[in-house]
């Protein structure tokens, strides 16, 4: 088992920037998910770790060994591809045994290991079939079996569940997690599906435009998104962001109301001890003479709806646009300053056209500066 380190790794394809100065550490035995929208460079990052691509700049370490420049076969990694890449002309057993065959294992050893791994993945009955005769879920299992059969030190998965239907995906998700727990292999998993990322990972690395935006455990990513972009990327529906002007220690949201900044800042400080730099900014935000644009972020599940103005606290005013019953909750779209705000509520008390008042706990509010960086 190894730890993986990417140090200022950049990858260019011609003039295209796929990765730019990516720094990433994966600890020994960790399950790290790289999450990002399509085209953000997450697959390239994985292929750099695999050795299928070589970095244009920077270094990659497995433990203390520098591995960039080495071929994939010299890295003892295993990889599961999005389309599984099963060899169509080989049977399931031959597919799984192939990495062993290439490495010169004897047929007996091969059979034994193939048997072990097929029973681990419950595909003993399929070993004589060709991949073409298998269902999507079975192919997925064969691809996994082929990857783990030679006990790699690093396990790389490139959107392995994206070709499965919803039910199978759920099933394979727990299966994968179970396997990883059992085998304790350092795992890097690439996906654009945040549900997968949140449910399986030890930590999530969020990428955008070729660079890492935040690396954090799932809960922290949700509770404390470092930038407005991450905040909007994580969570469904995404976090609401209100554009406002800060003035006299509060955020002016125009007709919709005013939010007292000090409350937000204090609440945050109670939870997290802000760094020196944050302190400076917080102070600056509170200073009465400063002005400028900031964004106030509140998740839909943290908004409360009321038909009458509550006596105290921060209130944002708006008009109900649509009401979407989703089963476990009701999604209310409220129009605030021509912007649609999502709120998750438990019962249907409002209808289209109603004037409503959105309230929230200052603990649940985030403030981002003009650069999109979290300040409170």
């Amino acid at each position: 088992m190894v730890a993986i380190t990417l140090e200022n790794v950049s990858k260019y394809f011609g003039e295209t920037v796929a990765n730019y100065q990516v720094n990433l550490q994966v600890t020994d035995g960790e399950f790290l998910v790289i999450l990002g929208p399509s085209g953000c460079g997450k697959t390239t990052a994985l292929r750099l770790i695999a050795g299928l691509e070589q970095p244009s700049e920077g270094a990659i370490y497995f433990d203390d060994d520098r591995v960039d420049g080495r071929s994939p076969s010299a890295r003892n990694i295993a990889m599961v591809f999005q389309n599984y890449a099963l060899y169509p002309h080989m049977t399931v057993a031959e597919n799984i045994g192939y990495p062993l065959k290439v490495r010169g294992f004897s047929p007996d050893e091969r059979d034994e290991k193939v048997e072990d791994v097929t029973s681990l993945l419950h595909i003993e009955d399929q070993v004589e079939k060709k991949p073409g005769a298998l269902s999507g879920g079975q192919r997925q299992r064969v691809a996994l079996a082929r990857a783990i059969v030679r006990e790699p030190t690093v396990f790389l998965l490139d959107e392995p569940l994206s070709n499965l239907d919803a039910k199978l995906r759920q099933e394979m998700r727990s299966e994968l997690k179970r396997l990883q727990n059992e085998l304790e292999i350092t795992t890097v998993y690439v996906t654009h599906n945040q549900e997968e990322a949140m449910s399986m990972s030890d930590r999530v690395a969020v990428m955008n435009q070729g660079t890492v935006q935040q690396v954090a455990p799932p809960q922290e990513l949700y509770d404390r998104p470092r930038t407005a972009w991450v905040a909007q990327f994580i969570g469904s529906p995404p976090m609401n962001l209100f554009q406002g002007t800060r003035r006299n220690g509060s955020i002016d949201l125009g007709e919709a109301g005013t939010v007292d900044l000090s409350g937000v800042l204090e609440a945050k400080e109670a939870v997290v001890e802000t760094s020196e730099r944050d302190d400076v900014q917080s102070t600056a935000l509170l200073a009465s003479d400063t002005q400028g644009t900031v964004s106030l972020g509140i998740r839909p599940e943290n908004l409360t709806l009321a038909s009458t103005p509550p006596p105290s606290g921060n209130v944002i005013e708006g008009r109900v646009d649509t009401v979407e019953p989703m089963g476990e909750y009701i999604l209310v779209n409220v129009s605030v300053n021509d912007q649609i705000v999502n709120a998750k509520v438990s019962d249907r008390t409002v209808s289209r056209g109603d004037r409503v008042y959105l309230t929230f706990d200052t603990n649940d509010a985030y403030v981002y500066d003009t650069n999109g960086d979290l300040v409170a």
Binding site: A85, Y87, H89, Y98, V102, R103
Partner: protein
């Protein structure tokens, strides 16, 4: 009969009428689409073949059908030394007969152009400018074969030919000769030329088969630890093997139809003393050069068909 039955009867009648209308409309459409093409195809392709099958059992007065002679044409043609020359074959001396020459083309030309085509397809597969490189190899296949034959004559010319110049530069003076006119070696010289032209075609088929291989299969093999040779043997070769069948069969068809190149180099005789004649040449000479022997021409052309037809059907069955 109740009224209801009567009404049912009427409706059924009407339905049948409707069906007939549709059928007639469809039949007319079929005729409009099929008849013009199939008529020409029937008159100029199918009928002459039937005519040849039929005529091969008759005796001919030049171009006129005379009387039924059974297998006479067949026996006479297949024992003709122009087609199979047993005594020379035993002494490995040319001419060995057109059929033997054709089979020799198959045995040498087909494997050579197949392997070369695969090799070049692999060599060019991941290079920049591969389209251009492939076109350079393939362009000879678009040149009229008669020009290819003349080019070969030019290359093998004792004085103006580049091939002999290369031999001189290499110090192999004793080999310098007019290759296309030397009975014992000419066929190999021509086969080399055939390989030169036909490799482009094999390469094209292999290239398209290679580009159809999912690149993640090769990457997966790379990750699994397979080196270049193993990747070829375990992944690429099994996946392009179906194409190999097509390449080989198309090669055999091409070689069995060989005519222009041989005619360019050796005229209607197929070289000095028919040294590298092929079946096509024999058909042409029997049918259109005096003394005309239509019966033999038909038999020899049918032999060509018999060799190739099962292969063509095999390709058709493959899909």
């Amino acid at each position: 009969m109740s009224l209801q039955d009567h009404i049912d009867g009427i409706t059924v009648d009407r339905d049948e009428g409707g069906l007939l209308d549709i059928d007639r409309e469809k039949a007319v459409a079929l005729a409009v689409f099929l008849v013009p093409g199939l008529t020409l195809f029937g008159i100029f392709s199918v009928a002459p073949i039937v005519y040849s099958v039929f005529g091969s059992f008759f005796s001919w007065d030049t171009f006129t059908l005379e009387s039924f002679v059974g297998l006479d044409n067949w026996i006479r043609s297949l024992t003709d030394q122009l087609i199979i020359h047993w005594p020379n074959m035993q002494e490995l001396r040319y001419p060995m007969g057109a059929l033997t020459h054709n089979l020799l083309w198959v045995v040498i030309h087909v494997p050579a152009s197949t392997f070369l085509g695969l090799g070049l397809a692999l060599l060019f597969a991941d290079l920049k400018g591969r389209r251009f490189l492939r076109s350079m190899i393939f362009v000879g296949f678009t040149v009229p074969p008669i020009v290819i034959g003349l080019v070969l004559m030019f290359i093998y010319d004792p004085r103006a030919g580049l091939f002999n110049e290369v031999l001189r530069v290499l110090g192999q003076e004793q080999w310098v000769r007019n290759w296309t006119q030397s009975p014992q070696v000419a066929i190999y010289a021509l086969i080399a030329g055939g390989i030169w032209v036909h490799t482009g075609f094999s390469m094209l088929l292999y290239s398209s088969a290679l580009s159809a291989i999912d690149p993640s299969l090769l990457e997966s093999a790379k990750v699994d630890g397979a080196g270049a040779w193993r990747r070829f043997r375990d992944i690429i070769w099994p996946l392009v093997r179906p194409v190999t069948a097509v390449v080989v069969i198309m090669g055999i068809i091409w070689v069995m139809r060989m005519f222009d190149i041989v005619y360019a180099a050796g005229g209607a005789a197929g070289g000095p003393n028919h040294a590298y004649s092929v079946l096509g040449i024999e058909v042409y000479r029997a049918a259109f050069r005096p003394p005309i022997d239509y019966g033999m021409a038909m038999v020899v052309a049918l032999v060509q068909l018999f060799i190739v037809a099962p292969l063509a059907l095999y390709i058709a069955r493959m899909n």
